[in-house]
């Protein structure tokens, strides 16, 4: 049985009619839909268990704490982290990268360098711009080689003894390019730089194993991987986290407080000030359970097949340009394309009229758009519930666009 045949009944939203057509949702890279188990786990938590975690000495508080910490264990296993205290809950990928940029940023000195790449999401650019600003540190970017992959020779040259941080996406949210994380992390580490990997587009799509990936930090969001909005994960190697001073304060992240000083809590709570997203952690647990039941290898295979189908069918339509690696090469579950003469927003509006939801615009990657010399692209992205029929409906609608406006 194909994965979508197995999963479609689990996603209530797929029963919606949009503009007179059954919804075809091809925007999971922006935010995926949720299976019933995730929705019900969160409702059940609010109906039966909710209380604040860690400090409530009553039954509900203890149950909520247990569920919240169980989510951490679940994430640890899902990403192959060596220790549970290496899993820090955040509000999402942007929040996780910002936390790192603020924290590491305070240790930057004049002449230090932070290296990012041309294909980053703004969430992996702006926090570093803010981090280097006013400190005399420098932000540089690895260029693209051919409009589809990073120039790894340039990367090797750009990592120098002055490089303090190398931050890059595992999978490009526009091109779908899968960057060689292991190779890049090894090069960065040999120069003494910390590595931060934006896994927002990889965690929903690929099996992850922190023990072999070789990065210091790995950041992703729950809502792109069938989970709820409002929670994300920051994985950090324990030895590195232990050296970092917290950048954000509040409850939960301290052991003892005086008016003029405080003693920090242990990992991972040191980096989790304030009441955390508890119901969202419960939802994330349910999402991971769902994905693990399917098997991430199978998820990657299914979404990879849909991407290949989309790349080949779209590229065969006259007037359509597909960006990113060719179908023979590995790519994430996203396919960006352009239709001659059509602005991406018009493409998305015309597809929406057929019940097909896609993303259009710069995808929060303006430097990459500039590099590709486009104002934006239209992007279809795939999840476990998408079928080859969904891709066929997309390509038929795209082929009909020239006559539609």
């Amino acid at each position: 049985m194909r994965l979508d045949e197995l999963t479609r009944p689990d996603f209530p939203i797929l029963g919606r009619i949009v503009n007179g057509r059954p919804l075809i949702y091809l925007d999971s890279a922006a935010s995926s839909q949720k299976p019933r188990t995730v929705i019900e786990a969160m409702s059940r938590y609010y109906e039966r268990t909710h209380a604040n975690v860690h400090r409530s000495i009553h039954t509900l508080g203890e149950e909520a704490t247990e569920l919240y910490e169980a989510a951490r264990d679940r994430v640890q296993r899902f990403i192959g982290a060596a220790h549970r205290e290496e899993v820090i809950f955040t509000r999402g990928t942007t929040d996780g990268i910002s936390l790192l940029a603020e924290t590491i940023g305070r240790t930057l000195r004049a002449g230090d360098e932070v290296l990012i790449t041309e294909l980053e999401h703004h969430s992996n650019i702006i926090p570093w711009q803010l981090a280097v600003r006013d400190r005399g540190a420098v932000l540089t970017a690895v260029p693209l080689r051919d409009g589809e992959a990073l120039d790894l020779e340039a990367f090797a040259r750009l990592v120098t003894p002055r490089t303090r941080v190398v931050a890059f996406a595992h999978v490009s949210n526009v091109l779908g390019t899968v960057n060689p994380v292991g190779e890049m992390c090894a090069r960065a580490r040999s120069a003494g730089a910390l590595t931060v990997v934006d896994g927002a587009q990889a965690a929903p799509h690929l099996p992850l194993d922190m023990s072999t990936l070789g990065c210091d930090f790995y950041v992703f969001s729950a809502h792109k991987m069938l989970g709820p909005t409002g929670i994300g994960v920051l994985y950090g190697r324990r030895e590195v986290l232990e050296r970092l001073e917290p950048g954000r304060g509040g409850s939960e992240m301290i052991k003892e407080v005086w008016i003029d000083r405080a003693q920090w809590n242990d990992l991972p709570w040191r980096f989790e000030p304030g009441t955390p997203p508890i119901a969202e952690a419960v939802g994330l647990t349910a999402a991971i359970e769902y994905l693990e039941k399917l098997g991430m290898e199978r998820v990657a295979e299914h979404e990879g097949a849909l991407s290949r189908q989309a790349v080949e069918a779209l590229a065969a339509i006259p007037g359509v340009t597909v960006y990113g690696p060719p179908s023979s090469r590995e790519r994430g579950a996203v396919v960006s394309f352009a239709v001659t003469e059509f602005h991406p927003h018009d493409v998305a509006a015309l597809l929406d009229a057929e019940g097909i939801a896609v993303r259009a615009g710069h995808h929060c990657a303006m430097p990459l758009m500039r590099r590709l010399a486009v104002v934006g692209t239209t992007r279809a992205s795939f999840s476990v519930f998408n079928s080859p029929d969904d891709v066929a409906a997309l390509t038929t609608a795209v082929a009909g666009l020239p006559g539609a406006l």
Binding site: N19, H343, L350, A353, G376, G403, L405
Partner: protein, 164 residues
């Protein structure tokens, strides 16, 4: 009603439109939806996008401005030639969607001959001329040219009379 290529394919009947778009939300002033699709694009938007009348360079422009819609990267450049306090000519250039292009084209048409001090064209005028109900997410596509106009009138070039 203009014939549109490809419109004949899968049922552009009024019956289908009534079934899928009972409120006629995206059809005001437009025609029957294409291939059974209710569209936000009116005839006017389509025509102005396909064949804009005011798109192009404006030699001798005395006021020029350009702005970007951060949401989608739409970029519109508006060029005005102001003579004796009147907008004598207006042209635009842009990398923009159909709605934004049509809006810029209609705006240029409306402001020609108007007083520089008070061209008196607003969002509602544009929406009326475009004859389309625009969703809130696309409203900035309509208003971007207005923003550019305001900037252009604030920063005329080579028009000392108009300097504030």
């Amino acid at each position: 009603m203009t014939a549109v290529p490809g419109a004949g394919a899968a049922g552009s009947s009024g019956g289908f439109a009534a079934a899928t778009d009972p409120g006629g939300r995206y059809r005001k002033g437009g025609e029957a939806p294409l291939r059974g699709i209710p569209l936000p694009y009116s005839d006017i938007i389509r025509q102005r996008w396909r064949q804009p009348r005011f798109r192009g360079e404006l030699p001798g422009a005395t006021a020029v401005a350009e702005d970007v819609n951060p949401l989608c990267g739409d970029r519109v450049r508006l060029m005005l030639r102001i003579e004796n306090g009147t907008i004598a000519a207006a042209r635009f250039l842009g990398d923009s969607c159909a709605i934004c292009t049509a809006s810029a084209d209609v705006l240029a048409e409306l402001i020609e001959g108007r007083a520089r001090a008070a061209p008196g064209v607003g969002k509602s005028d544009l929406l009326e001329r475009l004859q389309s109900d625009i969703r809130p997410t696309r409203m900035r596509c309509v208003t971007l040219p207005l923003t550019v106009l305001a900037t252009a009138l604030d920063k005329p070039i080579g028009d000392p009379d108009a300097a504030r």
